[in-house]
Amino acid sequence: MTADLLFYIFSTFTLACALAMVVHRNAVNAALCFLLALVGVAGLFVLLEAYLLAVLLIFVYAGAVVALFLFIVMLLDVKGGRRSNFTKSTLVAGTGAAALLAVGLLSLHTHGRITATLPAGPGVGASLKGYAYQLFTTYLLPVQIVGFMLLIAMLGVIVLSKRHAGMEDVK
Amino acid sequence: MSPLPFDPLLLAIAAPLAVALAIALGLPKRFSVKLAYVGFALPALLALHCWYYFPADAADGYAFVTQYGTGLSALGISLKLGLNGIALPLFVMAGIVGLAAGLYAIQSGAERLKLYLMLLLIMQGGLMGVFASIDVFFFYFFHELALIPTFIMVGIWGGRDRNYAAMKLTIYLTLGAMLSLAGLIAIYVQSGANSFDLIELRRALGEAPLALSLQKYLFGLLLFGFGILVSLWPFHTWAPLGYGAAPSSVAMMHAGVLKKFGLYGFIQIALPLLPQGAPSWTPLLAWLALGNIVIIGLVTIAQRDLKQMVGYASVMHVGYGLLGVACLSVLGAGGVVLFMVAHGLTVALLFMLTTSIYHRTGTFDMQEMGGLAQKAPVLAAFFLTAMLASIGLPGPGLLNFWGELAIFMAVYAHAGWMVVPAVLGVVISAIYGLRAVGSVFYGQPTENFLAHQQKHPVTDLRWNERIPALILLVTLIALGIWPRSISDPINATLSAFYPAIEAVATRITP
């Protein structure tokens, strides 16, 4: 029951934060909301016994990604209030889209119920060892690929951001 | 059978293409022109050779059959060449018209002559291939091969409105070609023969014909596909415009030979493979063909532009071919083949001479000419002869007459009263034909023309223009005098596989 209660708390918190992020005018605030939402999700991860992932989520997402976002938002100093009011057409389209998404969710919820599920036993995600074994045996290849991916991402960021000698650079 | 140590058909197709390739690879202009002579003459000579050696006993089959794999054997596609009695006359005609068009092109001194000759040679290769292919796929393939240079040449060397004309031509013909292709593929798929080989298809569909409703759909598809390609009314508007704009050699080869693809497709492929599908469409086809003959005939009368007029005339005459096809009989189809040969030679001649006239008058507007016969009597004689041939006057147009006569005979036998408007076309064509001859060559020159003559003295037809004209004219008249030289193979071939069609054919009119 505690778990259920925690679920409700976390999920409500997460949803509220996510909603705030989506609708908040100010980008900085949105990023902060995102951060909080991530904390909520991490909590849910904990409920699902994926402790490592919860920690990772906080580290990687909240710690690195959102920080980066915040950093950039502040660097660019974008005035959040500059966003114009919703025009009528966007309002209509937005409402329509929201309705569509709601219909989708509803149908997913009604038609997509998974009736037979195992009672929650000990979670497989709890063990750190499991990750290690999997990553270094079965999923060794993806790990290697991800390594290359990070390499090119790094190179890419350098190419896109670094001032190169002899290059005309605007401002 | 041919005593030559090589395959004459393949060579006839490959020679122009090889010359085109050589030119494309950067042969100097001098050699290009010399080689172009070879490229144009060889197919004609080989075609004549095949004609001479065409065995009389190749009645139901093909002569000079050879087969080359191209890598699509899994689909039953291979380059299978051969001639039967229907293909032979058209093959010969393609060679002759190609030669004339080539000679005319060489003397034309067109800008970027090398490119011009190269494209024309590609076209020639395609034309020879269309009629030499037994494989239905290659039949279509060669048609397209010849069609592409047409578009380009109309666009580059065309006359008035060439941009629009080239575009319209391209789109229309692509549509027609795509529909035909769809029909051909459908036949291939449905036949279960797993082969594009016409002989195989014929055998397979002879043993197990397609369902009636399917045949109807497929024939309809081919009807509109081929119909657009041969400028069936009301899908013809590309033709006069395109021919009006096309450079003469292209108009000669397209209107003369390439356009016959559709009619040939009907006779050689659509009718034999879909005999039961045809009768439900033939009334429509016949009515539309009458539209070609009567409506376009009258529209032709209203033309002022000489080249457009010739274009319209060729559209009109195609109506005879379509009407003959609609008869679904040996007589009708045979008449159409004869007519195609005649029409090809005639229309090529007319387009050629039209351009020669233009070079002397500086305009295509018939009301701005006049009296040209005084300065250019030989041109006048040629043009008059060509025009009379095109209106089917026995004499110069004896072959046209034989074709039309056979078609009329068939139309009366299968469509009764429809023969009346069809024959009326003969009168209509006489009206516009003579009007054209009269206003271009007879009477007195207009003031504008006189002014033009001051600047550009008019000369008579030069020899390098006369020779291609003579090639066409002599062939036409010779074939007209002795039509059996081509009608016997036609008759033999058609008699072999048309009884099945005639057996299910119904009258077009009640």
Binding site: - | T237, W402, F408, Y412, A413, V427, L434, Q444
Partner: protein, 630 residues
């Protein structure tokens, strides 16, 4: 030389000279003339050999075979052929000779003679044809030669128009002819004349009548029958020898020859139509002749009128035979055919003579053709005058001249058939005498009324000798003994008719018509009158006649106002509606769709995300089974 070789040599000799002239001697009138004359002489020789030393024969070879259609072309030489050949060869030769003088100094004479040879080829082919198709082929070829010769002066707009008119009007007739051939083939399964006769009874009556009338259409066009006669007077724009040979003696008579050839397929209904066509033509042309002032035009209308007589004669003879219980199979030379061919022959002589005489006059008076601007020529051109007078008498049907006998045979048939027809034809004969007297009196008598006529002098021998020779024929061709035995079958049959019932009455009536007509002519058209009697007294009537009863105007109106406008309308629909509105409109519509599709790329990311949403909706719809059509 076998008969076949003989016939082929006869046929191809003129073609060969025409070709040689066209290819090599276009600029050498002398060579062209010589070649043509040699050909004409050759034709006389070869034709003579065929006529006099050869039995009748027929030969054919298969020319085209497609499915059920088998066309055999060949040569048929019978009595009809021989008579026609005789007319063509003999008169043709004389006209060649005449042309030498007439065309002297003409720069393009080589072309003229080349075309004349081409005509001879075509006409001989027509004569020798054994079947409808070959007949049709040469039928068209004579039309072509006629076209080429009418617009010999192709820089004259009138000549060009006339040639075009001739060709197109003939094509209208041939339209029927060709239909007739097609029907005939499917009715009889052959187009060979001899075989048609053998298979006759198989055809049902309506079809037979249609066939007969359709083939008659060809004759209506070529032989200038009402209402397709309009081209013939205009055809006088050609050089006069051409008018004499083609548009008087031979080609226009080909229609009659055709009728006689296909006599076997005629039915009573068809013949009645033919008869009345002939009668109407005869009278109509006779009346119209009064409104003409051009000497050649008057002769042209007279030709039309006489052709009407021949057509009527043909129909009458067959109708009479039918009524007399003859079998429908009228094979051989029937009475009608005999009468028509007989008149054709005599007419060929005197009309060629008249035309050549007119040519001589025109040549001498520096191309003056208006009869009221001539006059006084009897003194200046005695030979021409004499021969022309003989020709006039023959045409007018003066007793004991050739025309009298041939016309008598027709009148007698008419008398036997129906008094009304007889009366009308008799009136036609009277008209003939009447207008010929008008012509003769105005052109030759009195005083010269123009410079041309003033300075006229007799033509050279090359022109007068043919006149004299033809005048002999014009006078004597009515007598049976004039014809050698090889040619005598038709004249004999025709003359035999003259022994028929009522012959005295008819002969008297015929003579009276001549006397009365000539008398009226002399009465109303006094020699030396400067103007036309009718024009002065009844200008309105004269105007109508001069305007040829507005039939030509009607045709012109039709061509300019109906046909041309209809063509323009269709062209408008084609260019504006079909090529413009529909095709371009469709292309424009597709283009608009394209612009619309392009405009959807707004560049806004948010909008693009909506597309993804749309994509999800589409895919989700797939899950919901929207696309499962079955």
């Amino acid at each position: 030389m076998t008969p076949v070789q003989n016939a082929l040599a006869l046929l191809f000799l003129p073609l060969a000279t025409a070709l040689v002239t066209a290819l090599f001697f276009r600029r050498q009138p002398a060579v062209g003339r010589a070649l043509s004359l040699v050909a004409a002489a050759g034709i006389v020789l070869l034709g003579g050999r065929l006529i006099f030393f050869t039995e009748n024969f027929t030969i054919a070879a298969e020319w085209l075979s497609l499915g059920p259609l088998t066309i055999k072309l060949g040569i048929l030489v019978d009595d009809l052929t021989k008579l026609m050949l005789f007319v063509v060869a003999f008169i043709g030769f004389l006209i060649h000779v005449f042309s030498i003088g007439y065309m002297k100094g003409e720069a393009h004479a080589a072309r003229f003679f080349g075309c004349l040879s081409l005509f001879m080829f075509s006409m001989i082919g027509l004569t020798l044809a054994d079947d409808l198709i070959m007949l049709f082929i040469f039928w068209e070829l004579v039309g072509l030669s006629s076209f080429l010769l009418i617009n010999f002066y192709y820089d004259r707009p009138a000549a060009v128009l006339a040639s075009k008119k001739a060709f197109i009007v003939n094509r209208i007739g041939d339209f029927g002819f060709l239909l007739g051939i097609i029907l005939a083939y499917w009715a009889f399964d052959t187009i060979t004349l001899v075989d048609i006769a053998a298979r006759l009874d198989t055809s049902p009556d309506l079809v037979a009548t249609s066939i007969a009338l359709l083939i008659f259409c060809g004759a209506v066009g070529k032989s200038g029958q009402f209402p397709l006669h309009v081209w013939l007077p205009d055809a006088m724009e050609g050089p006069t020898p051409v008018s004499a040979l083609i548009h008087a003696a031979t080609m226009v008579a080909a229609g009659i020859f055709l009728l006689c050839r296909v006599g076997v397929i005629m039915t009573g209904d068809a013949l009645t139509v033919i008869l009345w066509t002939g009668v109407v033509t005869a009278l109509f042309a006779g009346v119209t002749a009064f409104g003409q002032r051009d000497i050649k035009r008057i002769l042209a209308y007279s030709t039309i009128s006489q052709l009407g007589f021949m057509v009527a004669a043909y129909a009458l003879g067959s109708l009479v035979a039918l009524r007399n219980g003859a079998d429908q199979a009228l094979a051989g030379v029937t009475a009608g055919a005999a009468a028509a061919m007989f008149h054709l022959t005599t007419h060929a002589f005197f009309k060629a003579l008249l035309f050549l005489g007119a040519g001589s006059v025109i040549h001498a008076s520096h191309h003056e053709q208006d009869i009221y601007r001539l006059g006084g020529l009897w003194k200046k051109m005695p030979i021409t005058f004499a021969t022309f007078t003989l020709g006039t008498l023959a045409l007018a049907g003066a007793p004991f001249f050739s025309g009298f006998f041939s016309k008598d045979a027709i009148l007698l048939l008419a008398w036997q058939y129906q008094p009304v027809v007889f009366g009308l034809l008799l009136f036609g004969a009277l008209l003939t005498a009447f207008y010929m007297t008008r012509l003769w009196s105005a052109a030759f008598l009195g005083a010269p009324r123009s410079d041309g006529a003033e300075h006229a002098h007799e033509s050279p021998a090359s022109m007068t000798v043919p006149l004299v020779l033809l005048s002999i024929g014009a006078v004597l061709a009515g007598y049976g003994w004039f014809y050698p035995s090889a040619l005598a079958v038709v004249p004999t049959a025709a003359l035999a008719l003259l022994q028929g019932e009522g012959h005295t009455l008819v002969a008297v009536a015929g003579s009276a018509a001549f006397v009365f007509g000539a008398g009226l002519g002399l009465l109303f058209y006094r020699p030396g009158a400067t103007g036309d009697f009718l024009q002065q007294r009844l200008p309105a009537l004269y105007h109508v006649m001069a305007e040829r009863f507005y039939i030509d105007a009607l045709y012109d109106w039709y061509v300019a106002k109906v046909q041309q406008r209809f063509a323009m309308l269709l062209n408008f629909l084609e260019q504006i509606l079909l090529a413009g509105l529909i095709v371009r409109g469709f292309a424009g519509l597709v283009g608009l769709l394209g612009l619309g599709a392009r405009a959807l790329h707004t560049g806004s990311l948010n909008a693009y995300v909506y597309w993804f949403l749309l994509g999800l909706v589409i895919l989700w719809a797939g899950v919901a089974g929207v696309f499962n059509l079955q």
